[in-house]
Amino acid sequence: MNASELLYLDYAASTPVDSGVAAVMQRCRETAYANPSSNHAAARLAQAAIARAAGQLAALLNVEPQTLVFTSGATESDNLAIAGAARYRAERGRHLITMPTEHKAVTDVFAALERAGFSVTWLAPGPKGLLDPADLAAAIRDDTQLVSIMYVNNETGVIQDIAALGGVCRERDVLFHVDAAQAVGKIPIDLSALPVDLLSLTGHKFYGPKGIGALYIADRPGCHVEPLLFGGGQQSRIRPGTLPTELIAGLGEAAAVAAARIDSDLAHLRALRGAFEAGIDAVEGRVVNGDAVGGFPGILNVSVADIDGESLLLALEPLCVATGSACNSKTQEPSYVLRALGRSDAEAQGAIRFSFGRQTTLEEARFAADHYRRAVAFLRGIAPREPAR
């Protein structure tokens, strides 16, 4: 099956690089190839490209460029934010808070910190995946130093109330980290107005290149991270290493493109979601996982309890979508995110995540819905009949 035969609906996993972004990267590759840490005219071209990109990203988030540290992506940003902040504030206390519905790039860092002697409280979400700020307030202790909550859930599209949760942390002088990999460039984020101390992002989720991300570190007392890497003086030693100029330029351009079209992108996604949901309305027994009304419109996670998710995924080809389960893993464990929302194993196994993007058309959304309906009918049609009761 070649690319032209595929219908890509996995934009939450990654997005194609915007053509304007690719052009900027190509120009950068040709003209700003010098090591930006060097001290000559060619290096200054690279420095200028990086400064421009930092400005573009800062403008998208409404922060100062100096508050941004470039990383290899959201996983590294999450690691740097969580492990770095926990270590920086370890003498004040060793209690941390997060949720089991976070991305593995977050939960695995907390698990590692637990093994290193930190105490972690895992707050359960409500049925829609949302964390009640009152639950967070009740969990904060005198020795709590860091809370990490994701902005938009990668599996369900649930949008947390970052302003309220951050407000709770600010009142108690607890650092607040937000994994915003699924949010930056997709929904408006004004960090000058949000009580967020640390925020992770990655370029390839919003039409930028893979291999580049950033960590925002608020410029306020007590907000700092210990570095995870050593070996150079770049980026104030917080994240040393030669800066990848063309990737950073691509990230910056992706931010500029997103800033210019974020409202129209959202309107487009809402239309796609509406068309898709109307198309699957006739599928009996379907359950929308997450906040069906207030969530990010680009992600729709749907379960049917009586269908094997892996077979549904294959029956859905040429749609490129994601299952709610690690279907090809040796364990075949259902999604821990959906289980945390109270879904049964069967519902979690039969979950499919559809995620739409700029290139998705209304016709494709309708086709995908029709294909989903037929795939479910096919698999139900060959399933063993339930015994008569």
């Binding site: 294959l314 049609g381 063993p384």
Partner: protein
């Protein structure tokens, strides 16, 4: 990650000609928490003249059920009781972690071979 399905698995999964029911046929069934498979056979003079299956599970299970039904039609009914899924598992390159799913198919077909209706015909076939 390489494609987990061979072209044969894909073909059998997409067009399972033997999926469905048989009237007045012996049946066998097996299942666990995540998957279930039932098979039905019509026997005449000790031979399997028609087989059908129903399955809920991964693509490999559905493809294997289709392959097994196709392979068993025309065979002596005694082969139901002695059915081994090893050949189909190898032919379809079923991943080791899915061996349990394929054994469900084996269990269902052997259960079918032990059904009273099947036993009668099996006995007849031995007299031949």
């Amino acid at each position: 990650m390489s494609d987990p399905y061979s072209s044969e698995v894909r073909a059998l999964f997409r067009a399972p000609a033997h999926a469905g029911d048989l009237e007045a046929a012996a049946t066998g069934e097996a299942g666990d928490r995540d998957a279930r498979v039932s098979v039905a056979a019509r026997l005449e003079a000790g031979r399997i003249v028609a087989m059908r299956f129903r399955a809920r599970g991964c693509p490999h299970l559905i493809a294997a059920a289709e392959a097994a039904c196709a392979a068993l039609e025309g065979k002596n009914a005694v082969e139901l009781r002695e059915f081994s899924a090893d050949g189909i598992r190898d032919r379809l390159a079923v991943p080791a972690e899915k061996t349990g799913r394929i054994l469900l198919l084996e269990d269902a077909i052997r259960a079918l071979g032990r059904q009273p209706d099947g036993t009668h015909d099996l006995e007849s076939s031995r007299e031949d």
